[in-house]
């Protein structure tokens, strides 16, 4: 019995190591392909920085305010992005918002905020790992401490780590790690279901998802492949519904003040990400 068990563990570990080496190989192939791709080399430079590529001669007037060229991006994937943006809006209109509205009617706001904190607490691994990748030891340590405190004292639904101990969360992800080490953002990319991103941030999202231990359940235990996939998707959907229920008038509000909603969302995403990268670089 015990030898059989030992063999099974051994088998599982060899399968795991085989999987890991294969995954690393696949990742490096994808990375090389992505970096070699010419579209990737075209960073989100402002129009004025690469006027020749845009076919428009940008002659800067004298006394141009600083940041004048900020907020005009090249968007080589625009046709794809625009249709995905429409898809996401329709999906939101037909499914996400109605579900979130119904959920909001049943669950009071404090409950939904607690659920939001629960999902946030569970996602500690990418935050910890990326703080570590950027050699931010105090921040990485804080993430571990926060997870321990909030899981034990707050059951994940409350945030005693911040309210009682003053330990603030340090959001971080692999997209930011790549940008921190100088990888350009790559073209803007609107993902179906997931929303605004860039090529680099999408790679980062995949890497962060790979850090979820749930992903490897199939390789360690005798769990069919569709169980972790279904659980992962279910978690994502629950998180999305919960988030949307906390921000019910999100798009209505944005659309009220936008002349071109696609452009408004694109710029808000890119400005926010650029600012986070700048903050990370300046905090060293």
């Amino acid at each position: 019995m015990s030898t059989r068990r030992l063999k099974r563990v051994e088998k599982a570990s060899t399968t795991l190591s085989r999987f890991v080496s294969r995954a690393m190989l696949a990742a490096s192939v994808i990375a090389v392909a992505a970096f070699a791709h010419p579209a990737f080399a075209q960073d989100l430079a402002p129009l004025s920085a690469n006027p020749s590529k845009q076919g428009a001669v940008v002659k800067q007037a004298e006394q141009t305010p600083p940041g004048e060229d900020q907020g005009v991006y090249s968007d080589p994937l625009a046709p794809f992005n625009e249709s995905m943006f429409t898809f996401n809006l329709k999906l939101d209109d037909w499914v996400l918002r109605p579900v979130a509205t119904g959920y909001a009617a049943i669950a009071p706001l404090p409950v939904r905020q607690s659920v939001g904190r629960f999902f946030d607490n569970v996602n500690v691994i990418p935050r910890f790992a990326n703080n570590l990748f950027q050699l931010r030891m105090p921040e990485a340590g804080t993430e571990v401490a926060r997870f321990g405190i909030n899981t034990v004292l707050g059951l994940g639904f409350f945030d005693p780590a911040e309210t009682w101990f003053g330990l603030k969360e340090h959001p971080d992800d692999f997209g930011l790690t790549l940008r921190y080490y100088g990888v350009p953002s790559g073209p803007y990319l609107m993902l179906p279901f997931f929303g605004p991103s860039t090529v680099t941030d999408t790679v980062g999202m995949v890497v962060d998802a790979a850090m979820n231990p749930m992903t490897y359940l199939t390789y360690i235990a005798d769990v069919p492949w569709y169980v972790p996939t279904a659980v992962g998707a279910g978690t994502r959907i629950a998180d999305a519904v919960n988030y949307r229920s906390e921000h019910l008038d999100m798009f209505e509000e944005a659309d009220r003040y936008a002349v071109d909603l696609y452009g408004a969302v694109q710029d808000a995403y890119l400005q926010t990400r650029d600012h986070k990268v700048k903050e990370l670089k300046e905090s060293d």
């Binding site: 004025s48 002659k59 305010p65 600083p66 907020g71 005009v72 009220r256 936008a258 400005q271 600012h275």
Partner: protein, 217 residues
């Protein structure tokens, strides 16, 4: 003897007074110099505007339209709307006619102004902290502030100012690191490239009308 002593003490008293006055003057000098030129200080422009606007925002008794009118006056004094409009169009500004520039400035100014005034009732209570001021080129400055409202995360609110003929005026506002003018610039650039000025001004006018209707003005 007595007389001399009195004279001496009077002289000594004078000397002390003069020294004290000089020290006082030296200490006061920087503040006097600042008080001489309030218009040349971007922080003062922002502080004056915000400190004047805060009581109006907090006052929930006065009807909203009256408060909006008061705020309109403060905004008109401290914001440079023509610079905002020019900057929001980016290089397309030079591609449209002077008449169109004028028309665009008028519609965009009203739109921007109303989009802020429509939200004044969302400001419940709170305070504004003036954090820092920094030069951003010879005639440009950034004033950083933080808006603290009860039960909400603090909002980083930065003002970008431009010195035009000795008068500092706000030409952009940054909310949580998102520049409003840069955001409109990306939107306008897309509409200009894909559809042209006629569509842009028509869309802007219809958005402005919807906003004005929702405000009841």
């Amino acid at each position: 003897m007595l007389h001399t002593t009195t004279t001496n003490s009077v002289n000594r008293g004078h000397a002390l007074a003069i020294v004290l006055f000089l020290i006082g003057a030296l200490l006061a000098a920087p503040s006097i110099a600042r008080a001489d030129a309030p218009a040349n200080d971007p922080m003062a422009v922002v502080k004056d505007g915000v400190n004047e606007a805060l009581p109006i925002l907090r006052d929930k008794q006065t009807p909203t339209p009256v408060r909006q009118q008061k705020l309109r006056e403060i905004v008109a004094r401290s914001f440079d709307f023509s610079e905002m409009a020019r900057s929001a169009l980016g290089y397309h500004w030079r591609q449209i006619s002077p008449d169109q520039q004028q028309e665009f400035t008028k519609v965009f100014s009203t739109f921007i102004e109303n989009s802020y005034l429509a939200k004044i009732n969302e400001f419940t209570s709170g305070e504004v902290r003036f954090l820092s001021v920094r030069n951003d080129g010879p005639q440009y400055a950034i004033v950083k502030t933080s808006v603290l409202m009860a039960g909400k995360d603090p909002i980083d609110l930065d003002f970008r100012l431009l010195d035009k003929n000795g008068q500092w005026k706000v030409y952009d506002v940054t909310v949580d690191a998102i520049s409003i003018i840069a955001n409109y610039r990306n939107q306008f650039n897309r509409v200009m490239n894909n559809k042209g000025y006629a569509t842009l001004i028509a869309d802007l006018k219809s958005k402005e009308a919807a906003l004005a209707a929702s405000m009841g003005t």
